[in-house]
């Protein structure tokens, strides 16, 4: 995986983004980034530096006050411009509790594909496939909120992968995991072929997992 070169098609391009929460100082202040097919980008920075904000801007959950977002060959501005983006970009939230909102694992993993307009049969196939590929074969009918922290992380990865995204945005995918789950998440992420941006403050983990490291500081991004 590590040797993948970043010479593919550009998937997402962020240009001079500016964003501030209410009246505070801007979190992003001229942030630019481009992500190409097959790239694995590590994004580091301290708490509150705007890492999560950046990911949320890519999928349109937050609209920047200035700057442009291009994704999959088009500029994206309005809410409905981002509908397509969200079907092709999988965002993994920091806290799996936010991501797993359905009663059972099966429903959670099926939620994305059903929204993408797949039929019940297709969806049920995708669900079993995805769960099996992550070693979660027997989990389909488990009740989400009874899972352990590590299991919740794995299932939330499954629920994102079930949408077969072209780009993955992973927000601190390993915080709070016990050593076993950490290893499992790491090897799952290494086995994926999609482009991805991984946010983490664990710099060693980032160096292991990614082909390119970017640091966010003072609202701007700099390659490391």
């Amino acid at each position: 995986m590590r040797e993948t070169e970043s010479n593919g098609r550009v998937l997402v391009g962020l240009d001079r983004l500016v964003f501030s929460y209410e009246d505070n100082a801007p979190v992003l202040d001229g942030a630019s980034l481009s992500v190409s097919e097959g790239e694995r980008i590590g994004l580091t920075g301290s708490i509150g530096s705007g890492k999560t904000t950046l990911l949320h801007i890519i999928v349109g959950l937050i609209k920047p006050q200035a700057g442009t977002v291009r994704a999959f060959g088009a500029e994206r501005k309005k809410e409905h411009d981002f509908w397509e983006v969200r079907e092709r970009v999988g965002l993994l939230f920091q806290d799996p509790e936010d991501q797993l909102f359905c009663p059972t694992v099966r429903e959670d993993v099926a939620f994305g594909p059903l929204n993408q307009g797949r039929t019940r049969e297709e969806t049920s196939e995708i669900v079993s496939e995805t769960l099996i590929s992550l070693g979660l074969g027997g989990y389909a009918d488990r009740i989400t909120h009874h899972l352990s922290g590590g299991e919740k992380s794995l299932v939330s990865i499954a629920s994102v992968l079930a949408m077969k995204p072209d780009l993955l945005l992973l927000d601190e995918p390993t915080t709070g995991l016990d050593p076993d789950s950490f290893d499992r998440v790491r090897s799952i992420l290494l086995s994926l072929s999609q482009a991805m941006i991984i946010v983490s403050h664990d710099e060693r983990f980032i160096r292991q997992m990614t082909t390119r490291q970017v640091r966010i500081e003072g609202g701007r991004l700099t390659d490391l």
């Binding site: 929460y21 979190v27 708490i47 509150g48 530096s49 705007g50 890492k51 999560t52 904000t53 949320h56 959950l61 937050i62 920091q94 909102f101 927000d171 946010v199």
Partner: protein, 211 residues
């Protein structure tokens, strides 16, 4: 503040259910699909709080009712929220019951809706801690008293002889109302300081979140 299982004769159970159904339908109509998570997560907290928080009261303690609070924030949506919460209470703890579910939804939910009309506006305009506290306390008190009145009426309709029970409950309930008022006052004062947007119903989705 529940009518216990079995006490309501069939016509009253059905009448209660019909009124509750009307209120719940109104609440569901107001609630847009994208507001469901918000209403549900608050309903989750309200359910938990009313079960686990114990407010000292003499040598023992009482649980908060929280319908004044729910009303100020959720308005008509309080009706479905209380239906869900009362159904769960019956199922999990045998508080209230199936035949009295409608009646109990009405005695809890209607005062909440009334509090929305009485106090939501003043609260939105409130700029001071003191005023928010007083508005919240008023909502808690009014909702608690109204619930008591509705509960007594329901009890009396179940059987005139049950008036004794209502009369017996009056004393303790006045104390409960005072505690409920104080408690709701502090909750509302906190919210109007820290998260005033909670009182302006539809606009909660626009606030972003930093990492």
């Amino acid at each position: 503040m529940h009518i216990t299982e079995g006490v309501a004769p069939v016509h009253l159970a059905l009448a209660g259910a019909a009124i509750a159904a009307g209120g719940v339908a109104a609440g569901l109509r107001v609630m847009k699909d994208e507001q469901i998570p918000r209403a549900a997560l608050m309903s989750s907290v309200i359910f938990i709080s009313s079960l686990v928080i114990r407010l000292p009261f003499g040598p023992s303690s009482v649980h908060p009712i929280l319908n004044g609070l729910t009303g100020i924030i959720l308005g008509w949506v309080s009706m479905p929220v209380f239906l869900v919460s009362l159904f769960l209470q019956a199922l999990l703890f045998q508080f209230g019951g199936v035949t009295t579910l409608g009646i109990n939804t009405v005695t809890m939910g209607l005062p909440a809706v009334v509090c929305f009309y009485l106090f939501n506006g003043p609260l939105r305009r409130s700029r001071s801690w003191r005023r928010s506290f007083l508005t919240g306390a008023a909502a808690g008190t009014v909702a608690s008293l109204l619930s008591f009145v509705l509960w007594s009426i329901a009890l009396m309709l179940c059987g005139k002889q049950l008036m004794v029970i209502a009369a017996l409950a009056l004393g303790p309930h006045i104390a409960i109302t005072i505690i409920e008022g104080l408690f709701t006052g502090f909750v509302v004062a906190f919210l109007s300081r820290v998260y005033p947007a909670v009182f302006s119903t539809p606009s909660l989705m626009k606030r972003g979140r930093a990492d």
